[in-house]
């Protein structure tokens, strides 16, 4: 006799439709792995290009598939929110592989495994975004993290890269432990691991202290992955030590996936405990914004500075979530989209910076005279810096506008004021880069910029400048329907 609980709800290939993008990515990664293995000469570039094609194909399948719903007996969910976040993850991943196409050799990642691991990490992120169960959440998180640890340490003869990989691994394992501990407590106090059933179980019972305890650990584990203060310690070291293309990838897609996870866990499972997690999110948000604004001031290493910048932006995105409303989640969704675009653009600029004899430029003081030698790169970088500060009419302004609006609607005035002040402080270090590029004397000759980096910089620069008239309203509409599917 087959009871309902042990039978599967997947009986045909067509019923797998909501999971087609994941299936495509998984199968494609395996095929590429085999092809690369049996192809004698090391063609890392070809495999990386194929990976981009695969990511774009998965994005197309994702956007054109109408099917949604809960699959695999409740562990996997495809709704508007999942689709929106997956589109961001896939787009961010494809762009960050694209900008690293020509710089693999000097960064020591010119191996075909790099693209394969990026594909599998992206698969992990898609599983994270689509998870409807604490177990799926963990599997996705581990698939993503494990691939990223390896990628961070891939330049294995470089001391800083191996140190970055090891540090990332140890702290990542610690955060996984905390997350699992929290998950086990949540399971123990609710009797289910399925996210949408947890909320029902909480509703039946009075709020128990053990459940809140578990929730705190669960959120702490995820806060590690979005690198919110005080769980941010690994970020500057890993961003600085890892090869720049890897840093570009780390800063873009995984942040989106972890943020999506954070939103889903808080709003879906712990929707009735909003008051409890709200305090945590407000604390994380204020701590991230303030610490990043002050800690980045003293940084001369460009990648380290961008690491603090990303910590700060996570803090700003959490301002939206701390309102606990649909408007807030919509704000976070818009924020993450703009954040990914700006991050990829900034790293395209950083990757294009090298002296004529091929030395990589990684410190702010070496940027002197960039405006005279490479006016286009300098202009793009300046625009992106202004956007990261949040000056109107650039995209970064609208991102911050949305999240602060949501906070003010919920009367979180103190949070909004601190956010605006932190934003003003952070303007200092962004503007310092602009100042060095435009007003300092050149220190070196800059090498020619590869074509695909120019295309990415031009495209993102255009979108950031014309955000309000071009992508602004469709993005807002998409984010609105995405947030609507959670409430």
């Amino acid at each position: 006799m087959q009871s309902a609980i042990t039978s599967s709800d997947v009986s045909s290939f067509a019923s797998l439709a909501p999971a087609y993008p994941e299936l495509l990515l998984a199968a494609g990664a395996l095929v590429l792995l085999l092809v690369a293995l049996f192809w004698k000469n090391n063609r890392a570039g070809v495999i990386a290009s194929a990976a981009i094609v695969l990511l774009v194909a998965a994005l197309a399948v994702l956007l054109f598939q109408p099917a949604g719903g809960i699959l695999f007996n409740g562990v996997f969910i495809v709704d508007g929110f999942a689709r929106y976040m997956k589109a961001l993850v896939l787009g961010g991943a494809a762009l960050s592989v694209l900008i690293s196409l020509n710089s693999g050799r000097e960064h020591g990642i010119d191996k075909f495994e790099y693209a394969i691991l990026i594909l599998l990490a992206t698969l992990g992120m898609m599983i994270m975004v689509s998870s409807n169960d604490l177990m799926t959440l963990y599997i996705g998180l581990e698939l993503q993290s494990l691939a990223l640890y390896v990628v961070a340490a891939m330049k294995r003869d470089d001391r800083r890269a191996t140190e970055a990989g090891l540090k990332y691994f140890v702290l990542g394992a610690l955060s996984s432990g905390m997350l699992l501990y929290g998950a086990s407590l949540v399971y123990g106090f609710t009797g289910t691991t399925q996210l949408d059933r947890i909320v029902a179980a909480i509703a039946l019972d009075t709020r128990s202290i053990g459940l809140v305890f578990g929730m705190v650990f669960l959120l702490a584990g995820i806060a590690f992955k979005i690198s919110a203060v005080p769980f941010h310690m690994w970020t500057p070291d890993v961003y600085e030590g890892a090869p720049t293309p890897v840093t570009a990838f780390l800063a873009a897609a995984p942040k989106v996936a972890a943020m999506a996870l954070f939103i889903r866990v808080t709003t879906v499972s712990f929707g009735s405990l909003t008051h409890d997690w709200q305090q945590i999110v407000i604390f994380l948000s204020i701590a991230s914004m303030v610490l990043a604004a002050f800690a980045a001031i003293g940084q001369n290493n460009l990648k380290r500075l961008l690491a603090y910048s990303s910590i700060g932006h996570v803090g700003f995105a959490l301002v939206g979530l701390s309102s606990g409303t649909q408007v807030g989640v919509e704000g976070v969704a818009i924020y993450m989209a703009i954040y990914v675009a700006m991050t990829v653009g900034i790293f395209a600029c950083v990757l294009s910076l090298r002296t004529a004899d091929g030395t990589l430029i990684e410190s702010v003081s070496e940027l002197g005279g960039l405006a005279q030698k490479r006016p286009f790169v300098a202009a793009t970088m300046a625009i992106l810096m202004f956007s990261l500060i949040g000056l109107p009419p650039l995209a970064g302004f609208f991102a911050k506008w949305q999240v602060f609006l949501a906070a003010i609607e919920q009367n979180l005035f103190l949070l909004a004021v601190i956010g605006v002040l932190a934003s003003a402080v952070s303007a200092f270090y962004y503007l310092r880069i602009v100042k060095v590029m435009y007003f300092d004397e050149p220190t070196a000759e800059f090498a020619r910029v590869p074509a695909e980096l120019n295309v990415v910089m031009a495209g993102i620069g255009f979108l950031v400048v014309t955000y309000f008239v071009t992508v602004g309203s469709p993005l807002t509409a998409a984010a609105h329907s995405a947030a609507g599917s959670l409430f």
């Binding site: 609980i5 042990t6 599967s8 495994e113 599998l120 494990l146 891939m154």
Partner: protein, 202 residues
């Protein structure tokens, strides 16, 4: 005394005795062999409890793979076990404390089954007495949790790729045997006839 009870006492007595011998025996190879004996008896206990899948897995995985690996390690590494054992009495109190804590935990877990037998029926997947547990595990892993099963497979694949990427080095200049090349050589390629004048070397 019923037959299962009789076997239970035999298995558990041998398991406890051989577990003691694992830490007491002087020869490390004997220790590993006693460990294998403990595993086999534990498998017998599982069998008596009706968990035949667990029993076979214990033999296949622990006896077949892990214990043999231990055996290799103890035989290949030149570890001075006599000196390792010298501080044994010194550590005994801590060992007793750890053992006591584990015993209390075991009693707590077991006690909940005795005090509240209805707990087992409220699990996410209640145990169906009608099917044997190999089939039950298969139904859970390959139908209900097939997605997680495949996901775990992907995690293992990443671990494998990662281990290879981070450790494998292709050294240039290493001479490897290529059997195809070897057997493809003709006599003309391999040998050369040289006329050597007497009194001169090559």
């Amino acid at each position: 005394m019923t037959l299962p009870l009789f076997f239970f006492y035999i298995f558990s007595a041998i398991a406890v005795a051989s577990a003691l011998m694992v830490i007491a025996s002087r020869n490390p190879v004997h220790s590993v062999l006693f460990l294998i004996l403990t595993f086999v008896n534990a498998a017998g206990l599982f069998m008596l409890a009706g968990a035949e899948f667990l029993a076979l897995i214990l033999i296949v995985v622990y006896v077949g793979a892990v214990a043999v690996l231990f055996l290799f390690v103890t035989m290949m590494l030149d570890v001075d076990f006599a000196s390792l054992k010298q501080g044994m009495l010194q550590y005994a109190p801590i060992g007793v404390v750890v053992g006591a804590i584990m015993l209390i935990e075991l009693l707590l877990v077991g006690g909940s089954y005795v005090l509240a037998p209805e707990v087992a029926s409220q699990a996410v997947v209640p145990i169906d007495a009608g099917i044997d547990n190999t089939r039950a595990l298969g139904q859970l892993l390959y139908t209900r949790y097939v997605f997680l099963f495949q996901g775990a497979g992907a995690v293992l694949l990443v671990a494998m790729i990662g281990a290879i990427v981070l450790t494998l080095r292709h050294k240039s200049g290493v001479k490897r045997q290529d059997i195809f090349k070897q057997s493809n050589r003709t006599r003309a390629q391999a040998t050369e006839l040289v006329k050597v004048k007497s009194g001169q070397g090559l």
